[in-house]
Amino acid sequence: MSLPSRDTSSADTSEGPATPTRERRWKRLAVGLAVGAPLVLGGCNFYPSYGASRGVTTQGQETFKLYSGMMTTGIIVGGLVGLLILYTAFRYRRRSDDMPKQFHESIPIEILYTAIPVLIVAVLFFYTVLTENNVDATVPNNARITTTGAPVLQVKITAFQWGWRFDYPNNNVSVSGETTNGPGGLGPQMVLPVGETVQILLVSNDVIHGFYVRDFNFSRYALPGVQNRFDLNIIHTGLFPGQCTQICGLYHSEMLFTVKGVTPSQFATWTATEIATGHTLQRYPVPASNTPPVYDHVTPSNALAAPSSKKGSL
């Protein structure tokens, strides 16, 4: 934010020898830079939220930065085009019955306004791929520790009409609940430790559901027959409401859940309590009729980085 003053001073130095009209033009440029520079440079260093969550996972924060940057670009480009339309509409409103000049085309201008969108799209796509690779990066399947030695917590999420089941295979804990039944009337709760890599295995027991937590800036379908896999690294403790986003039948709007981010020690206490109250994996034997063949799936963009045991069905 200290940059605008530098812009102004550089404009001031060139002001001296100029003629009065040129001087005014320079002043205008200086004012323009002083106002414009924070906006433009601000876009590089500072990410306005534009109504979105800044993210409570490392993945969600990456996504947020991309969103914010794209939104800034969109507002600038869309705003300029909108102003151009307004300007044209006012400037060329009918003032007389004179026939305007009947020009049909201007090849240089047409090439220009083809090339500029190409450049914008190229830049956006570049940042999209970078972010996408970070968001989709996963530790190898069934890994217990990451390459840096940090522990990996595995949670298997099963969506069903109309609720969620959260299984912790390595901790022998299973939490389940239907619709709004759960802490605070917000559905079942998935407790996760902050600062650890959480490996999510997501599958549906019946129709397609959507796993979505607003503060994660992330959603993924729970598909029948296909196990989706993604990683979450929560960095803030707190309560984060989630909800099914894909229409799944009558009680779709009631299919809530919450994610509670806790410290690793609180997490250990929580698992012990859950086991003591009988919330173990044995509590919910999977009905045989509802176990279609499940294919493990990672997104193709990082399929090379993390080969899975079986490829997806499509």
Binding site: T88, P100, H104, E110, V226, G249
Partner: protein, 586 residues
Amino acid sequence: MTTTVETPDLIEPEEPGGPNGHGPGTHEHESEHAEHGPSGLLKWLTSTDHKVIGKSYMITSLVTFFISGAMALVIRAQLSNPSSSLVNFQTYNELFTMHGSLMLYLFAGPFAFGGLANYIVPLQVGAPDMAYPRLNALSYWLYLSGASMMTLSFVVAGGAASFGWVAYAPLSDSINSPGAGTDMWLMSLALTGFSAIFTGVNLVATIFYLRAPGMTMFRIPIFSWNMLVTGILILIAFPVLFGAVVMLFCDRHFGTHIYSVQGGGVPVLWQHLFWFFGHPEVYILALPYFGIVTDIIPVFSRKPLFGYRGMVFATMSIAALSTGVWAHHMFTTGVVLLPFFSLLSYLIAIPTGIKFFNWIGTMWGGQLSFQTPMLFSIGFLFAFLMGGVTGVLLASPPVDFMTHDTYFVVAHFHQVLIGTTVFAGFAGFYFWYPKMFGRMLNERLGKIHFWLLFIGFWVTFIPQYIVGLKGMPRRVADYLTSNGWTGLNQLSTVGAMVIGTSFLFFLFNLVHSWRKPVPAGDNPWDGGALEWFTSSPPPHHNFTHLPPIRSERPVWDYNHPEHHKDESHGDKRHREHEKETVGASS
């Protein structure tokens, strides 16, 4: 120089045994002479005239538009309160499913390619009718049966379909959606799908084979160009939908397991097939409306279209790209190749951007007058700009992850679709209504309609973007007070009611034009395409003679001979000279 003077270089129409004797400037009662056979209602029902079928299409699709719009108002009323019990969950699910289905399958497409295009394309290319008039009639009757079937599915046991207009398997299978409403929904898609395919065939054949002498491909008005490309897209997309629908029907009734996991099928296959239809469908809905705006802006700017060829190539590249982006609706399935579909989706922004600059370039340096059709076209530019910019955001998979199936997406596609089908669609309606009925619509009522719609539009959908970013999923019948979505939803509901009110002024305008007709004349807007050369409404078989066709706006050239070669001979003295020569020869 007036349009009614017969000049030697007028071309006689190709149609042998066509209507005799009335030149441009004749009016509706004369057109009756040329027709034979039944009269009255029977004539209307048995007609193969593209103008009658076009009007039938328009009336039917506007009826579905109003039914569907009323459903939207009920949906909005339900959402204005966190735990509203105006309708129950099942009814709510049926309402949003039918709202989407009626709007997309029965209004947006048929209004454009069945209604406006059916009426206008043969006129614009100088043809006496569509290439296959009986097939055209069949299209309409298939469409009417499909539309009735879908609308009537509300009254069968179990109610209408309730799985959203995209009908994702396995929610749409016989276990999760057992009712007859779903089967009626599927059959309606099959019927209206074939109606669309036949209309597509007709449009392509008409534009390829029935153009008037001199109407080369690069002299076809852009609306007809876009309808040609739309016709081709229909032929690519709708058969796939039909296949998908038939397979779903087999899954439901004949024990196949194409989309069911239990039998080794793949539920996501439905999404692939559906969106392989569904994304081209978005452009089948959008391209005709781009064409309408592209025809209107030059007329009200008193200038030729800027970058005609660029426009044609932009349309073609949008159509080509639209067949390769279907999986951007499936980014969150986790089973599609993200970078490929992301890149192709981004690329669509380029030809779309070209169109925007061509529209602006057309207005640039013109003499703009803001009658109702032009106002609606400008409204379209702003609506579609907003919808387009948010669309670019959604082409990015991570941003799609954070907004997928939330109200952000709902706001995005409503801005795109209302921008095209409503703003541009009604621009076309106001623009061509004088041609179709020989009478003008009231300007004052038209402007009230526009401004209420324009204000209501932003008040409805800007809050939806925000509430989507606050995490509100789509297709929910209620929400918690603690979500903090109430205020924004109420604002959105108020906007929707304003939109609803705006259409009362539209209906009143129609009534007004029938009770106190203001004759339109042949060419009330000083339009340039061939439809403005014939009478309003046009006689049976459309033309008795045609002007020479030397550009994409032959009627403008004919009415303004002094400006014909303006851009190549800018200097005024030369123009004056040319004017004298032309004046002497006629």
